[in-house]
């Protein structure tokens, strides 16, 4: 549904997006991750046809966004960053306007507006002026605008920004549900969101893709993925650290916490030995007085990977 090839965007001398390529198929939800200023919004603005790319090709539903602008745009629903709205309209008036602009026929308009209002839980405020809405309602009103014409492609720039935890949960579920029949791209810097609703995620830093995969794949790439967490007691100064290091399956032992009697450590596997690591550790403790409180293989964490591979602005 969405195909992006070698996308570049330059503002003056500043390169905001530097050769990004990806595709999103129907039924896929692609998460855009990346620190602030990475180029997520700029990429989305180009995919929606708001910004002309400096170089690269974008097709949406088979239509080139630059040469077949109108028909490509009609397939897209877009929630821009910060959820812009006309402050002089009511929620319902705004949605009607957007529906009309999207070419919904007058006889279907009312039903489309009602459906969007229901989906986004806006019934309470439907006659309220946009100006007086709280941030959560503003966001959901703009969200409603993006789905009013039931588009095949949804592009959502930080759709859960400014929502409370319950609303965030609702929106994630909504994205996941809609993702079954649409092609969706959404950006976020909340990493749990990727787990909750994405089928695939891309991490962008300084305008380039630095990681691309399913949430599980990405997690397994974090430094601690596959490491074993060990928490044990009854050591009585037995020098367990040394014994662990002697095991062939172990490459390093990182002691996080220890007393004479107890230890908490992260143990990393030697190359190719990850599968046998936890059983090797267990066998080593057998026949001793050691009590194991925890022996767990870490599946890796997105935020760790994120911190490892992206550089924050502050380090510049």
């Amino acid at each position: 549904m969405i195909e992006v090839e070698n996308l570049r965007k330059q503002f003056g001398t500043k390169v905001a997006v530097d050769g990004i390529s990806f595709t999103v198929k129907k039924g896929e939800v692609l998460g855009f991750l990346g620190p602030n200023g990475a180029g997520k919004s700029t990429t989305m603005r180009m995919v929606t046809g708001y910004l002309p790319p400096t170089a690269g090709v974008i097709t949406v539903g088979g239509e080139n966004i630059e040469t077949n602008e109108i028909s490509a745009k009609s397939k897209i629903g877009y929630l821009p960053e910060n959820a812009p709205l006309y402050s002089d309209m009511t929620v319902e008036g705004f949605l009607k306007f957007c529906g009309e602009m999207r070419g919904i026929r007058p006889k279907d308009l009312k039903a489309a507006v009602n459906k969007a209002i229901d989906t986004c839980f806006l019934d309470k405020v439907r006659h309220q002026s946009v100006e007086t809405l709280s941030k959560g309602f503003r966001h959901r009103t703009c969200f409603a605008q993006s789905i009013i014409h039931d588009p095949e492609v949804l592009i959502l720039d930080e759709p859960t920004d400014g929502l409370d935890p319950n609303q965030k949960h609702e929106v994630r579920n909504l994205i996941k549900r809609m993702g079954e029949t649409k092609a969706i791209i959404f950006s976020t810097h909340i990493l749990e969101e990727v787990d909750a609703s994405c089928s695939r995620a891309i991490i962008i830093d300084r305008g380039a893709i630095i990681a691309d995969g399913t949430p599980d794949e990405l997690k397994s790439r974090s430094k601690n993925a596959g490491a074993v967490m060990l928490r044990a007691r009854g050591l009585a100064g037995s020098g367990i650290e040394g014994e662990l290091n002697k095991l062939g399956e172990v490459s390093s032992v990182e002691v996080l916490d220890s007393t004479d009697d107890s230890i908490r450590a992260r143990i990393r596997a030697a190359k190719g030995k990850a599968d046998q690591l936890s059983s090797a550790i267990y066998q080593m403790t057998e026949g001793k007085k050691i009590v194991i409180d925890e022996l767990r293989v870490e599946e890796g964490r997105l935020d760790e990977l994120f911190r490892e591979i992206t550089k924050s602005d502050m380090e510049d």
């Binding site: 929606t48 708001y50 910004l51 897209i76 877009y78 709205l85 006309y86 402050s87 957007c98 602009m101």
Partner: protein, 275 residues
């Protein structure tokens, strides 16, 4: 009684025709333009600005006209002297205020990102919004009709000339409005858009104002070139000839090209803003 019938024939009938033509045009407009137009027009009436502008404009134009009538003791019921010749000056102040929000507000709110990701062509949005502001300007002019009634009551004016006065005024106001639309595309601040449009409109009025032309005629070099350029975009002669009933194709062409050029400049500015 006769006067009343003439009045009805001469004003209500044209007004009805304008209304019908207007609705027809609206009906024939592409859906996209119509949708933008309706939203924009509604926006004018949900903010207090439109009402303030109506009051200010009608207060100034009607009030001063009656004042000038008294001063001139106009037995001939001439309407150009007391009324139409002052309109360009009022327009310089009022029209930028009507148009300043057109594109600057769209940028400030960020809704421009919605408009330009909808499946419509940019010209449709530019034209629809301009048309809504044009209706406000048109209504302002229509609401100066007490002056027409007054001169008809005072004497026997040539209502054909009065009509040309209105046509000229409308053309002038629509030109200023198009300029304001272009200026508003460059900034997200309504105040900045207002001030810059006001200065441009002022230069356009002064550009071919007889006294100014006399003053600048003998300047040479770059200054002279600039003065010549400003003379060229000067609206005064085009306006006053037209308003006195001397309809010339070139004057229409002049105003229409200012409108066309400015709306084109709006599109270019918005395109540049997005890249």
């Amino acid at each position: 009684m006769d006067a009343l019938i003439t009045l009805i024939l001469q004003y209500l009938v044209p007004a009805a025709i304008i209304a019908v033509v207007f609705s027809l045009v609206l009906f024939l407009l592409p859906r996209e333009v119509r949708t933008i137009f309706k939203r924009e027009l509604k926006a004018y009436f949900t903010s207090p600005i439109a009402y303030v502008l109506f009051v200010v404009f009608l207060g100034i134009s009607n009030g001063l006209a009656f004042f000038f009538f008294k001063v001139l003791e106009s037995g001939e019921a001439d309407i150009f002297g007391p009324f139409f010749q002052w309109l360009p000056w009022y327009f310089v102040i009022i029209i930028p205020a009507v148009g300043m929000r057109l594109w600057s507000e769209e940028q400030r709110l960020g809704t421009m990102e919605l408009v330009f990701t909808m499946p419509i062509a940019p010209w449709q949005a530019i034209f629809g919004k301009y048309l809504a502001a044009a209706v406000i300007v048109f209504l302002m002019l229509v609401l100066t009709c007490p002056i027409v009634w007054t001169v008809n009551y005072l004497g026997n004016p040539d209502n054909g000339v009065i009509f040309s006065g209105y046509v000229a005024s409308l053309m002038l106001a629509l030109s200023f409005l198009a300029v304001t639309s272009a200026v508003s595309a460059f900034t997200r601040s309504q105040i900045v858009a207002y001030l810059i449009s006001l200065v441009i409109a002022l230069v356009m009025v002064l550009g071919s104002f007889p006294d100014v032309v006399d003053l600048t005629m003998n300047i040479s070099g770059i200054g002279g070139f600039l003065a010549g350029l400003i003379n060229k975009i000067g609206v005064w002669l085009h306006f006053s000839e037209m308003a006195k009933g001397n309809f010339q194709i070139r004057d229409f062409v002049f105003f229409l090209s200012i409108i066309g050029f400015s709306l084109f400049a709006t599109a270019v500015a918005l395109r540049v803003k997005r890249s």
